[in-house]
Symmetry: C2
Subunit: 246 residues, 2 copies
């Protein structure tokens, strides 16, 4: 499982690049595979549509069990809402011995990458200087009540909150609802940073406030960072103070 | 501000490497500067002891204002408990115009890296497949009551919890206290992963339980990941289920 970071080859670690170069089969969601197209040129590639995580995991394990050297590509970090989970869960359910390569003998490695929280924070300033929570607003796999309870808990604990997957084409209600939940615990002028397409074409970023955030258009390529009580604007950037005496 | 990731050059993005190569002055905590010694060989280097964050920030801004191309090195990601905050706070307080390079004209960039949460998670399996909190146990800059309240909130919200800076030579009480706080909300057999020196010499990792975690030795080079209600052992690794139906 190879994390390719937020954008192109500039954000890819040498460890991840080597795994791509050494692979004889590359599997991944089409958009992610495209991010590293120059590196994997000439290799066998199986690009999948969204929401085919289990198919991708199964294809990768099947091919690896047949001796292929597989790179399963995730954007950002495969260990954060990525493909590492489904693959390892599936690997844990494979039979232990069947005369072939199995769970014990397959070499499976997670190669981390720069996750969206880091990429977005860097473009906004330094909002993650203090404790924070990372919460996905996608309720495809997690019930909304669970997500709402986590937003409530994180805001009550004065954690900075990073929102992954704030909206999709069909799922638009959760972003403004998340704002309302956090607003119960944080003032309306709390800085909120919104980054879209970090390190890709059409990258954009803006800093707004908790009260105004729901007016912004967000999508699956957007990461949102909601500040806490220590977050301020400094040098036109969003900074969470850690407590140094300047 | 350049994030060099958890270990050596294998974990450094090309963007970060280029910033190091183009710098004519490298500033940083000695241990972090040593991680990239092969890349910065021959350059002017100012290596500092721990707890000199403000001195490092001031030295970097002073040199940049005098026209130097400075790389201020952080391990992991400078945007997560790193040097990005103090530098931008200080930059925000510089006078706007004094005939020299000032806050408006200084080019300051945060180059993210693979943070310790990602590096540790990758070595443990896939514990960060669902929502999580990142909490530092260092009470040098944040009062312990604030940290305790955040641990309580994160555990009550069933977030996976990543502990940074679990202990130092002089600060040893917080780790077991954190375990007791989380234990009020999670069962004692909740998986806990402990990674020391990720991607460096003497790397070690183990998976234990919430009830047993305080028996382990941890230090400033250790990252601890405490699972949530969905975290299980699969294929000898720590995996947080996201809800796929296998």
């Amino acid at each position: 499982m190879v994390g390719v970071g937020p954008g192109g080859p500039e954000d890819l670690t040498p460890r991840a690049r080597r795994a791509l170069e050494e692979a004889d089969l590359v599997i991944g969601y089409r958009t992610y595979v495209d991010l590293v197209s120059t590196i994997i040129a000439g290799k066998e590639v199986r690009a999948y549509p969204m929401k085919s995580e289990l198919e991708r995991a199964e294809a990768a394990l099947d091919a690896a069990a047949r001796g292929r050297q597989v790179a399963l590509v995730s954007s950002g970090d495969p260990g954060i809402y990525g493909m590492a989970g489904p693959v390892l869960e599936m690997l844990g359910e494979l039979p232990g011995e069947d005369g072939n390569e199995t769970a014990e003998t397959l070499q499976v490695e997670v190669i981390p990458g720069v996750t969206a929280a880091s990429a977005a924070a860097a473009l906004l300033g330094a909002p993650l200087m203090n404790d924070f929570a990372v919460i996905s607003l996608s309720d495809l796999l997690t019930p909304w009540e669970v997500i709402a309870r986590r937003l409530e808990a994180a805001a009550a604990g004065d954690l900075v909150i990073v929102l992954y997957n704030p909206a999709s084409r069909k799922r638009t209600r959760q972003f403004s609802e998340a704002g309302r939940i956090i607003r119960r615990h944080q003032p309306g002028d709390t800085p909120v940073g919104i980054v879209r397409n970090a390190r890709r074409e059409e990258e954009s970023r803006l800093i707004t406030s908790l009260d105004a955030m729901s007016e912004q258009v967000v999508d699956m390529a957007t990461t949102v960072i909601v500040g806490n009580s220590q977050t301020v604007l400094a040098a036109n950037r969003m900074v969470t103070r850690r407590g140094y005496r300047l």
